[in-house]
């Protein structure tokens, strides 16, 4: 019994152990790695992925997936920038609506939530598989981003907006604070609320969940909306950090998010995994990228290594499953 528990705990913490080993190895290889400034640097780089991957985790826990987060991130970033800079113009009515910082941000978040809600609607009402529904949204949202920005970056958004991405509070960058709050809320939802239980139940056995009186559709609508909302927040951070909304921002961010989820031990079949796991997964990816840069490894090799780590994580997970 105790041996079994010990093994279970080992399984639970294997990504954390991997992270620690990775950090030790990198500290031995490079004396620039284990410094406070580099640590802050890594956290700043992964903050956006942590936001996006947190939403992705909740979706994957229901046995779903969201491929549209990168495009939603770009669109919402562009909308924030556009509203801040140009407001909302209705030339035919000769009307101009200007936006405050908070107004622009709220507007972008609401649009993000709506896009996720739309994903959820397509998935629940029309029974379109999540992969296909969100693949379509990936293209649609990217198209709207191009239309809205007319293919050009929207830049020079003002210092108060730039503070979100570049500023810091007691030495820690604002994006890291945002990611921390996002993670804490998500941990609370998944561990301590009815919604969290339902998310795990649906991923564990949708049929049984349905027979238990759970409204499957409502839960799915909520998680897809949450996922896209977090993507929108990520978009605002990215835009602010660059002080510019790029029409091709966020490309392949969905893959980074999924990679963090998987490395963190969440099963793509749903029902198994955790937010903390994803956070560690995102940190592993971040540390790996950072370490490889410090070691002057070619960026092309970095991609190979990242892929290999994902494979390794999943294979170790599978072997653990089989032993049980």
């Amino acid at each position: 019994m105790t041996a079994n528990n010990y093994k279970n705990n080992l399984n639970k913490f294997q990504s954390l152990i991997a992270l620690i080993i990775l950090c030790i190895v990198l500290s031995l290889l490079s004396n620039k790695f284990f410094t406070a400034s580099n640590g802050v640097n890594v956290l700043r780089q992964i903050a956006v992925n942590i936001c996006v991957a947190t939403g992705m985790t909740m979706i994957v826990l229901t046995a779903g997936i969201d491929l549209s987060v990168g495009s939603v991130l770009a669109l919402c970033g562009a909308i924030t920038a556009g509203l801040l800079k140009n407001g909302w113009q209705f030339p035919t009515l000769d009307l101009f609506v200007g936006f405050t910082l908070l107004g622009a941000i709220l507007c972008a978040i609401i649009i993000g939530a709506f896009l996720g809600f739309f994903n959820g609607l397509v998935i629940t009402k029309f029974k379109v598989p999540p992969f296909v529904a969100t693949l379509a949204m990936l293209t649609i949202a990217r198209g709207f981003t191009m239309l809205y920005t007319e293919g050009h970056p929207i830049s020079n958004l003002g210092t108060s907006f730039a503070f979100i991405g570049a500023g810091s509070f007691i030495g820690i960058p604002i994006p890291v604070w945002i990611a921390t709050v996002v993670v804490l809320i998500a941990v609370f939802i998944t561990k301590k609320t009815k919604l969290g239980r339902y998310i795990y139940a649906i991923g564990g056995n949708e049929n049984a969940a349905k027979l238990s009186g759970i409204s499957i559709n409502r839960v799915k609508l909520i998680v897809y909306s949450l996922g896209a909302t977090l993507a929108a927040i990520g978009g605002i951070i990215v835009t602010s950090r660059l002080d510019s909304a790029q029409p091709n921002a966020g490309i392949s961010y969905e893959l980074d998010a999924i990679a963090a989820v998987v490395i963190g031990g969440t099963s793509l079949n749903g029902g198994r995994g955790s937010i903390w796991g994803t956070v560690i997964g995102a940190i592993i990816i971040g540390v790996l990228n950072n370490g490889l840069v410090l070691l002057n490894v070619s960026p092309f090799w970095q991609q190979v290594v990242k892929g290999a780590v994902i494979l390794l994580a999943v294979i170790i997970d599978k072997i653990g499953d089989k032993k049980e």
Binding site: R197, L211, S215
Partner: protein, 501 residues
């Protein structure tokens, strides 16, 4: 042709078959008759190499033989046509017939022409004139069955086992199937025919074997048997359970259903349930008995709000009309369903005992409508673990590691936690050991004594007789009888269950 000698088979300590002895004759249609759970399918799975672990001997064509798998049995000439057909819908007839045995030409490429021609010849033997390129999904069930038979002919099967072949086909297709069976018989094939329908058995079978509780009870020539004698043999087990005294049952109606109908999910005109009306009294255990396909499970599902769009009829709880169009509605009016398949429908297998028990009443464990309180959940779980004596080392052990009986108790606990007025139990003791079974029976009786109304759908007559106060017998989606348990007998119930045939 094929002979079974002292065949026994156990599933985790429970005898599914014990000392089966029977002989199947070539050039004859051999009927295997028995109730659900009598051991028919287990025996057929041994013959066709699905189960390779068993005691006893199979004598095939004079030699003792032991199949190492289904492929082995197929090569030896035994083909089985399952009730649910095993064809790939998006492939053509020819591709299905040759699946896994594809013919290639000298370049190693698929020889489509040859396969099509051979398929055509096989189909012609069955008087089935159709282009072998037709996709299976475009065929009717009866036609698909012919493709299965063609597949069996292609492997030169000597023994063809048909499991309930007429359960899903029209009368005209049945006539056609029978003429094909007659033809195969004349070719000297051994046909094994499993069916519940007596009219068919008398029309087509030459010999019969009756199985009951995993043993062979009787065998003989069909023409010397009568329907009454067969029913007697199918059911005539000694009753180990005493009849109950029904005196103190109340006459307060808890649930009443009127005119319940259910459409087939794809075929509109086909009714899975029609004209179902009945009442359930407070403190009553109402059994629902029927053979395969009678509609027991479907009735439970309608009562639980799982078919809001396909079903009709009214359901009243305590004389008050309730609209039940989802499980959530059903739970709200006090109905709980312990579903047929606990692993697929009852449990979240990778989650703990306590998370499973609390799943349908989480709102009762909340503070400020948001936060779940672990303390309350722990109390709830411990209450039911002791009440139902669930054997689990820890509450947070995942339920997949529990035995079948304890898993079923977790499902029961989950539903008792909702404080239902009406408890629907669909095959509550399937696949669990005798100890757990009797504990569950006792629990059901206690619950009814506390005033809960219980509907127990079961395919096992002894279970109904042991537990229920009254039994509704169903046949092909309709109620054929409503009997008091202490005024009826197994024979009578079975007669009603097969009435329509």
């Amino acid at each position: 042709m094929l002979e079974a000698k002292n065949i026994s088979k156990q599933f985790s300590g429970i005898h599914a078959l014990s000392n089966i002895n029977l002989t199947l004759y070539p050039g004859k249609v051999n009927a295997i008759i028995g109730e659900n759970g009598a051991g028919k399918s287990t025996l057929m799975k041994i013959f066709s190499g699905v189960y390779t672990q068993y005691e006893g001997q199979i004598i095939y064509q004079g030699n003792s033989i032991k199949f190492s798998g289904t492929k082995d049995a197929e090569n030896a000439g035994i083909a089985i046509i399952h009730q649910e057909l095993n064809l790939v819908p998006y492939l053509s007839i020819a591709e299905n017939i040759f699946l896994g045995k594809e013919l290639t030409n000298s370049f190693g490429m698929l020889d489509k022409n040859k396969m099509n021609n051979l398929s055509k010849q096989l189909l012609e033997r069955l008087n089935f004139l159709i282009d072998p390129n037709t996709k299976i999904e475009n065929l009717k069930i009866g036609q698909q069955q012919l493709v299965e038979i063609a597949k069996a002919l292609h492997t030169n099967a000597l023994v063809i086992i048909m499991d309930e072949p007429t359960s899903a086909i029209s009368d005209k297709e049945v006539t056609n199937l029978f003429s094909i069976i007659a033809q195969l018989k004349n070719e000297g094939k051994t046909i094994v025919y499993i069916s519940h329908k007596f009219i068919e058995l008398f029309a087509i079978a030459d010999n019969f074997v009756v199985l009951r509780d995993g043993t062979n009870i009787a065998a003989g020539l069909m023409q010397e048997a009568t329907q009454e004698s067969l029913i007697q043999q199918m059911s005539g087990r000694e009753l180990k359970v005493q009849k109950k005294n029904l005196d103190t049952k109340s006459n307060i109606v808890l649930l009443s259903a009127k005119g319940i109908e259910l459409q087939h999910p794809t075929i509109k005109l086909n009714m899975l349930l029609s004209n179902i009306s009945f009442s359930l009294y407070k403190g009553e255990i109402l059994g629902i008995y029927g053979l395969m396909g009678a509609g027991r499970t479907e009735l439970m599902e309608v009562l639980f709000g799982l078919h809001p769009k396909k079903s009709k009829g009214t359901i009243c709880i305590e004389n008050e009309f309730k609209k039940i169009s989802s499980p959530a509605d059903a739970i709200k009016v006090g109905i709980a369903l312990v579903p047929e398949d606990r692993k697929l429908q009852g449990l979240i297998l990778n989650q703990s005992v306590s998370k499973n028990i609390s799943l349908s009443i989480l709102e009762k464990l909340e503070k400020w409508g948001l936060l779940l309180i672990g303390r309350k959940e722990k109390d709830l779980t411990e209450k039911y673990i002791s009440k139902l004596s669930i054997k689990t080392a820890e509450n947070n052990k995942s339920v997949e590691k529990l035995s079948g009986g304890n898993q079923q108790k977790v499902v029961l606990a989950k539903w008792l936690a909702t404080n239902p007025k009406v408890l629907l139990l669909d095959e509550p003791t399937r696949g669990i050991d005798i100890q757990a079974k009797s504990e569950i029976y006792q629990l059901i009786k206690n619950l009814s004594a506390e005033g809960m109304g219980i509907i127990l759908a079961s395919s096992e007559l002894p279970e109904i007789l042991a537990v229920a106060d009254r039994v509704i017998v169903m046949c092909e989606g309709e109620i054929t009888a409503n009997l008091k348990i202490n005024e009826t007998s197994e024979q009578e119930i079975l007669t009603y269950a097969i009435q329509k045939n």
